[in-house]
């Protein structure tokens, strides 16, 4: 509501400004200065090696792959491991549905798809030089990017548009990194000699910026988590546990648990006693907290009674996009392409987020957008399985199309109510075939990319050609929802949802089928019948008493 007001107010006075046709929302025509250190301070590693003493890391490095070759001289299996992980393949076959997913395969509600938009999107690939998504990622061992995860100097960065490479030594003004900051020349030696276990910044530099900007996609992963206050994230705050991502997403040979395609919604071993040193590869709350985590009081036991129907996140993440960074909540591509009276590109800033940063609510290249902070999640039954419409499922364009549908059934014994960010979209689809489409939006100098040509037909045809799918030649726009499971930004216990947030009329679970919530409907049939009964009794005694008074004979004898 607050944000809506802000939006309306800002649109009213919205200045129409022109901007260079750059892919990112954050642009600057200056050369950046390298950060003095990493953005998140984490506990010192326990390594027995000081990488600044290795001779091989003191030699001159011309490129990222040069550094990787040096790493591989000791860490012989690392590239092979990484190249077999989803971080590298961007390809994931769902074990239950068999659907082919992964960043290289899916259609989303943001820029539409990764395929067709390399090298912009592959700037966050954990490798170097994946310029064409119709081909598998580069197979050379040196194409793996070790530093993006292991640099602890804080000044390693990938260019926003370089297919994973670092910015060139000669920085052109306006060049940016994958986090949208003005690019700087990267000191590869300094980075190579600093290596350690990943901090929140290593993961966050990509995962906080999904969708091309801070917190655009997830809603619960933003730059606020580099050094979050305890109220923003009790686990990751330096005032709290100061955990890094890998504390929960425990890696094994460069493979990580925690997927939003096949979410591990519960931990089957939640209550198994953990032996010293035993691995725990399931990134769920219960893995550490068990399924009966509340204190052994009457109230605590009642809260424990909720764990079979509610994901921990539902109560313990009261809202997402906390900590001052907004998340994109709506993206309407159908209005893209409008220009001002001079034929110039429009960029209208209409949303000011808590930290004062202004975000655009209309950009010629992207259309209309809205944002939210402290957003109340959308709640749904969820068993962990996610299915994508992609371009392979027929859609019903008369309704709202689920870009990804979340599976869950209150009676299957395993689904629980989860919080989601429900992204609202209006995006292009194939009107002839009734399918979502891959869109080629990014491509400086391309004569088909939407950004520059503003021709959807060309952009869709190019996108579909990229993935080898048919396009009827006729497009339209369809309303979409995209669901993002919310699991980060866990608040301190005392800020968890109070009972009444759900146990009240029009509470948070209003409209959710398959669960009975006391306190939500005191006016139901039983409540009305009861009221009638009480009313009848009251009227009865009042009438009886009135007649007694009027007759005035009582107590005469």
């Amino acid at each position: 509501m607050k944000n809506l007001r802000k939006l309306i107010a800002a649109v009213g006075i919205g200045a129409v400004v022109t901007a260079p046709a750059l892919a990112s929302e954050t642009t600057g025509a200056k050369v950046g200065t390298p950060p003095a250190g990493p953005k998140s301070i984490t506990a010192p590693g326990t390594s027995t090696a000081d990488h600044s003493k290795f001779e091989i890391l003191k030699k001159e490095f011309a490129s990222g792959p040069d550094v990787t070759e040096a790493c591989l001289s000791c860490h012989t299996e690392a590239s092979d491991q990484v190249q077999h992980s989803i971080h590298y393949s961007w390809d994931f076959t769902h074990p239950d549905t068999g659907q082919s997913l992964g960043k290289s395969k899916v259609i989303n509600a943001f820029c539409g798809s990764v395929a067709g938009n390399e090298p912009r999107c592959t700037s966050c690939h954990v490798g170097y030089g994946w310029k064409d998504m119709s081909q598998p990622p580069p197979q050379a061992a040196s194409a793996v990017d070790c530093l993006v995860c292991h640099d602890r100097s804080g000044q390693y960065a990938k260019s926003a548009t370089g297919a994973g490479h670092v910015p060139p030594p000669e920085i052109k003004p306006g060049m940016i990194t994958m986090t949208g900051a003005p690019a700087w020349p990267v000191d590869l030696n300094k980075a190579a000699q600093s290596v350690g276990l990943p901090g929140r910044d290593n993961c966050g530099n990509c995962h906080f910026y999904g969708g091309g900007g801070d917190n655009v996609k997830h809603g619960d992963l933003s730059s606020a988590l580099y050094m979050p206050e305890e109220s923003v994230d009790v686990h990751m705050s330096p005032d709290g546990e100061n955990m890094v991502c890998a504390t929960c997403h425990v890696s094994d040979k460069h493979q990580w648990p925690g997927s939003r395609y096949d979410v591990t919604a519960t931990d089957p071993h939640a209550n198994d006693p953990l032996k010293p040193g035993e691995r725990r590869d399931v990134a769920t709350c219960e893995s550490c907290h068990s399924d009966s985590p509340h204190p052994a009081t009457l109230a605590g036991l009642k809260l424990d009674d909720h764990t079979n129907t509610l994901a921990c996140q539902t109560c313990h993440i009261p809202s997402f996009a906390r900590g001052g960074v907004a998340t994109k909540t709506l993206w309407d591509w159908s209005t893209a392409g409008q220009k001002d009276e001079n034929g110039k590109i429009i960029k209208r800033k209409g949303y000011t987020q808590a930290d004062g940063k202004e975000l655009p609510t209309y950009v010629t290249m992207k259309g209309g957008m809205a944002y939210g902070e402290d957003v109340v999640p959308y709640y749904a039954w969820f068993d962990g399985q996610v299915e994508y419409a992609n371009a392979e499922r027929e859609i019903d364009p008369t309704g709202v199309v689920d870009v990804n549908s979340i599976k869950g059934d209150p009676n299957d014994g395993q689904s629980r109510i989860w919080p989601f960010k429900r992204m609202e979209g209006r995006q292009a689809y194939d009107k002839g075939l009734n399918r979502l489409v891959f869109t080629h939006v990014f491509g400086p100098g391309s004569d088909t990319a939407y950004w520059g040509n503003f021709d959807w037909n060309k952009a869709i045809a190019a996108g579909m050609q990229k993935v080898g799918l048919d396009y009827s030649g006729e497009y339209g726009f369809v309303d979409t929802y995209m669901y993002w499971p919310i699991t980060h930004m866990v608040a301190p216990a005392e800020q968890a949802l109070s009972c009444v947030e759900c146990h009240s009329a029009d509470g948070r679970m209003a409209g959710l089928a398959g669960v009975f919530l006391p306190g939500t409907d005191s006016m139901n049939w039983a409540g009305m019948l009861g009221r009638l009964m009480v009313l009848a009794a009251l009227l009865g005694v009042l009438a009886h008493g009135a007649i007694r008074l009027l007759s005035g004979k009582e107590g005469e004898q």
Binding site: N308, V541, S551
Partner: protein
């Protein structure tokens, strides 16, 4: 027949009654809060207090059932149709004409037939419904996963529980109102449940028995 002031409510029965008053009122306030009828108590507190009060009341009921059985007091509660029509007629017509209540409290029966019938229904239907549904409600997590369509059963239990609660509210309204009926006034009707003593018509044999064997139950006659 002679009217004497006799102790009819021994200490335990008075304790039982007033404990019930406190617990049932507590359960009403918290219960209707949980139901969403009012917001005087926070939901979480209401659930905790409701649970504690319910368990205490159950314990009290178990104890009082033991009392009723071992002391034979249960006989006071057996329903009877004898004299029922007179009582109903009194409340429907007689009271307006200044008639006296047709029922005379006697030693072996403290309740008039209408009272006995009401308590019979309360004790055998309404109370069991509310505590059985309540216990199932409370222990849902122990059995919910074993039944299909658990949320339907929970819905049914909750609504039966609620209806029983409304019946008890209705009883309470009439119960309190009837204390005002009968000439002596509200206070006079409440007093025996505080002091334990009430005016009872005794037969000569009963009076003789009490004077010989339970003299402490009889108040000395004045003047």
């Amino acid at each position: 027949m002679v009217k004497r002031i006799v102790k009819v409510y021994p200490r335990f029965e008075r304790f039982w009654h007033w404990s019930q008053v406190i617990l049932i009122l507590t359960l009403m306030v918290t219960g209707f809060g949980i139901n969403g009828l009012h917001g005087f108590v926070s939901f979480g507190t209401a659930v905790t207090v409701h649970t504690i009060a319910a368990l205490l009341l159950l314990a009290l009921w178990i104890f009082s059932t033991f009392w009723l059985v071992t002391t034979g007091t249960w006989r006071q509660f057996t329903p009877t149709l004898e004299g029922m029509m007179h009582v109903i007629f009194y409340y429907a017509v007689g009271v307006f004409k200044g008639k006296k209540h047709p029922y005379r409290k006697v030693l072996w029966r403290k309740h008039n037939p209408l009272q006995a019938a009401t308590y019979f229904v309360l004790k055998w239907i309404v109370f069991p419904v509310i505590w059985i549904t309540g216990l199932l409600y409370l222990t849902f997590n122990f059995w919910g996963s074993a039944v299909t369509d658990a949320s339907f059963w929970l819905w049914l239990l909750a609504n039966l529980h609620l209806l029983a609660a409304y019946v008890i509210v209705t009883f309470l309204i009439i119960h309190l109102y009837l204390l005002t009926v009968g000439g002596h006034g509200f206070g006079a009707h409440v007093k025996p449940m505080i002091t334990g003593y009430d005016e009872v018509e005794l037969t000569a044999e009963e009076e003789a028995y009490l004077e010989a064997d339970e003299p402490w139950r009889l108040k000395p006659q004045e003047g």
